[in-house]
């Protein structure tokens, strides 16, 4: 109101009560913008409503998704914990089985015995080969009381010359450097002439 120039308005200097209900046309340089008709306001309201609705729906959806993810996370974490425990259990079994005492007992149960004295085949820089030491086959341990179900392995001794017969003589092989392999193939015979 204060922005309008004062001389454009014809304002009664002393308004009196009887004149209160009389209206006069107020003229201006420019016509005042007419109020928009209702028909043009409706789409705007609609747009706002749609936006609000869409926003609410999106928010609801988002919240639901987050909550659902939270449940998923929880259940996955439980799975993870369970799997970690399972892995721990398996690792424990491996560690216990590979401990030397357990291994020695398992080997004994299969009729194996600690290797005897090994012979070494040493290749000298000049190409000559020398067999040092006398390989001694491991002594067969007293027959273990076979646990039920484990009978095939120890019983293989006399029947098949395979694992059981080779094992005691062949075990020194494991301790040898690569060059020792041929010597250990027939350990009892060859070193005799050498030392």
């Amino acid at each position: 109101m204060t922005a309008l120039p004062a001389d454009d308005l014809v304002v009664p200097a002393r308004p009196r009560r009887p004149q209160r209900n009389r209206f006069r046309v107020v003229t201006m340089h420019r016509p005042l913008p007419l109020p928009q008709p209702d028909a043009r306001r409706a789409p705007f309201i609609g747009l706002i409503l749609v936006l609000i609705g869409a926003g609410m729906t999106a928010l609801l959806g988002l919240n639901t998704a987050i909550a659902a993810d939270s449940f998923t996370q929880q259940s996955l974490q439980q799975d993870l914990a369970a799997l970690q425990l399972h892995e721990q259990e398996l690792a424990q079994q491996v560690n216990e089985a590979q401990a030397p005492a357990a291994m020695a007992a398992a080997a004994r149960a299969q009729g194996m015995s600690p290797s005897g004295q090994a012979a070494f085949v040493v290749r000298r820089p000049d190409g000559t080969v020398q067999i040092i030491g006398t390989a001694v086959p491991a002594t067969r341990p007293p027959p273990p009381t076979p646990p039920p179900g484990a009978s095939p392995a120890p019983a293989a001794g006399p029947a098949s010359p395979g694992p059981a017969a080779n094992q005691p003589a062949g075990t020194p092989n494991a301790a040898n450097p690569p060059a020792g392999a041929p010597g250990a193939a027939n350990p009892p015979a060859r070193p005799k002439g050498n030392r």
Binding site: N63, I66, A67, D69, S70, F71, Q73, Q74, Q84, L85, Q88, E89, Q92, N95, E96, Q98, A99, P100, A101, A104, S115, Q117, A118, A119, F120, V122, Q130, I132, G133, T134, V136, P172, A175, N176, P177, G180, R195
Partner: protein, 604 residues
């Protein structure tokens, strides 16, 4: 704006003049106070309320605000401690000797338990105990008590599935020792609360223990984290792994060998240690009887140490090596020098005899060592003098701890020369009146095997941080004790000990050249604090192959009721440990012929 500034003066006058009559009429009817007064009262009431509310607001928000905000948050916030995994102890090949697994403790809150009897009956089979044993804990007058600790998580889950009121589980760690007694004295054990009590578990407790972390999150009504709410996590930092120089297989073999030796009649304890010659690293060490790390409570407390580093023995003739080494180094003798050695020699107030009665023999120095002549050694030590003898003993590491990374190490007993009794000048050269650990004994021979350079024994090769970074342990500075040439002479002389004429033919390993020295020392009798009736310590320390040494093995056999000498009872233990070490590591015999030794002038 302009009307407001004018307002206060005008309107009240108008009201009073215009509507005054009507108000007065109304007052008369309703007996209300006059409007200004009513307004003032109303205003003051409203203002008072406003001040109260405002003040309360300031009090709640401003003064106590933090407290209430915290309290509100605390209702939602859940803090979970994230325990830091304790580091593993690994052998030289990375095989775990000790590691931690998740386990559960089952606890009871007796105040919450409605029927203790039924609860006890339900729990007993799962916890592996009896209902009677559980009852006191379930009826105790407190709010917390452990019913079982370090249970497998699967078992604990079955307990939790019973949904018994007042019974709950707590996560905790359990220490696993897959090798059981193998290496137990080195590895040690932990207390109920996971604190290292012995061995590496104790000396590296700080390194093995990590830094626990914390997870803080806001919890909803059903215990689930509120999505997108405050959540902070400080991850736990796992402890470092400690990698030892120990070889678990060799350790097992050593323990088998000493356990077998301990079954001999008259033997009470057996100790042995294996060192790597080039590095001074301990490959295996142990004493029998020992204990099982996973159940240390099963044996008496005095067996829970590591005797190889903690208990001292009088070495006996094993110590003669130092006397001879000093004499050779000071050029007071040579391996071939001859000496007329009588049957006995008087030193101060005592007479020292040889182990067997003989007429004077013309021994070579090699012969004195190989035959372990006490008298010959004392004669040589008299040439050396006590001052130089003490210097050599100390430079071979006696009288002070080696600094190995194990708790409760003893440095042995070597009195300063000024405090030696007259007779000690005669007994110390032959290994009585002086005490050392088996580790020190092995370390002396490591110096001879390593061309005269002593490297203090160490058992930890390094630590591996949680992020995988390797921190090698500082290596001890190698220290020259005797000249390389003297060490070579000494190795040959020590090889004569295992010859047919020497004191320890049993120490030989077919195919290999073996050097070493036997010892048989009198053991003090704890009852009379004298030597009589105390029995003996049989010792053997040696290395192989003699001309290119790889390993040092020292063995001590304590016999309160036996008299087996070192060559008979300790040497076989040496042989079984050493031959395994050589074979397992693919050490080929050098193939060089053993020289012919002249022990007695003219006889060899």
């Amino acid at each position: 704006m302009s009307t407001q500034s004018r307002g206060p003066a005008v309107p009240p006058r108008r009201t009073r003049s215009g509507a005054g009559a009507a108000r007065r009429r109304a007052r008369r009817r309703l007996r209300l106070s006059d409007p200004p007064r009513r307004l003032r009262i109303g205003l003051s009431v409203v203002l008072t309320l406003l001040v109260i509310i405002g003040g309360r607001l300031v009090q709640l928000q401003g003064l106590d605000g933090t407290k209430y905000a915290t309290a509100a948050e605390q209702q939602r916030l859940t803090t979970v401690d994230l325990p830091a995994a304790r580091g593993q102890i690994l052998d030289r090949n990375g095989t775990p000797l000790a590691y931690s697994v998740q386990s559960r403790a089952i606890f009871a809150d007796p105040a919450m338990i409605q029927s203790p009897g039924r609860t006890a009956l339900a729990l007993a089979p799962l916890l592996g105990t009896t209902a009677d044993a559980l009852m006191p804990k379930l009826t105790a007058d407190n709010r917390f008590g452990y019913l079982a600790r370090r249970l497998d998580p699967a078992v604990a889950q079955r307990v939790v599935d019973l949904a018994l009121p007042g019974i709950g589980q707590l996560p905790e760690q359990r220490r696993e020792y897959p090798g059981r007694s193998t290496g137990a004295q080195v590895v040690g054990f932990v207390s109920q609360d996971g604190l290292g009590q012995a061995g590496i578990e104790r000396s590296f407790d700080k390194v093995l223990t990590g830094t626990p972390g914390q997870l803080v999150y806001e919890q909803g009504r059903y215990g689930l984290p509120i999505p997108a709410a405050t959540r902070s996590m400080q991850p736990a930092v796992a402890g470092s792994d400690v990698r030892l120089t120990l070889d678990q297989d060799l350790q097992f073999t050593l323990e088998q060998a000493i356990a077998k030796a301990n079954q001999e009649p008259g033997v009470s304890t057996v100790q042995a240690v294996v060192l790597d010659v080039a590095t001074g690293r301990v490959l295996a060490m142990g004493g029998n009887p020992g204990y099982d790390s996973s159940n240390p409570g099963a044996v008496s407390g005095d067996l829970l140490g590591n005797p190889v580093v903690s208990s001292v023995i009088e070495p006996g003739s094993v110590n003669k090596m130092v006397t001879i080494a000093g004499s050779l180094q000071e050029k007071l003798t040579t391996p071939q020098s001859q000496l007329d050695v009588p049957d006995n020699i008087g030193v101060s107030d005592i007479v020292i005899h040889d182990a067997w009665v003989h007429d004077p023999i013309r021994f070579t120095t090699t012969g004195i060592l190989a035959k372990s002549s006490n008298v010959g050694t004392v004669m040589l030590s008299q040439r050396l003098g006590t001052q130089r003898l003490e210097e050599y003993l100390r430079s071979f590491g006696l009288g002070q701890p080696t600094g190995i990374e194990l708790p409760a190490e003893s440095g042995g007993i070597l009195a300063p020369r000024s405090q030696w009794s007259g007779s000690q000048a005669g007994t110390i050269p032959i290994g009585q009146g002086i005490a050392m650990t088996v580790l020190q004994m092995a370390s002396m021979y490591q110096a001879v095997a390593n061309d005269g350079v002593l490297i203090s024994p160490r058992i930890v090769s390094g630590t591996v941080g949680a992020d995988g970074t390797v921190h090698p342990e500082a290596r001890p500075t190698p220290r020259r004790v005797i000249d390389s040439g003297v060490a070579a002479q000494l190795r040959l002389m020590l090889e004569a000990v295992t010859s047919d004429e020497g004191t320890a033919p049993l120490a030989r390993i077919p195919g290999y050249r073996v050097a070493g020295k036997t010892g048989t020392a009198q053991r003090p009798n704890p009852q009379c604090r004298c030597y009589s009736g105390g029995g003996y310590w049989a010792t053997f320390a040696g290395f192989a192959p003699a001309d290119a040494p790889r390993y040092v093995v020292a063995v001590s056999v304590e016999q309160p009721d036996g008299a087996g000498h070192g060559g008979a009872i300790a040497a076989p233990v040496f042989t079984s440990i050493m031959s395994y070490a050589l074979h397992e590591n693919g050490v080929a015999p050098t193939g060089t012929p053993t020289p012919k030794f002249e022990l007695i002038a003219g006889a060899g």
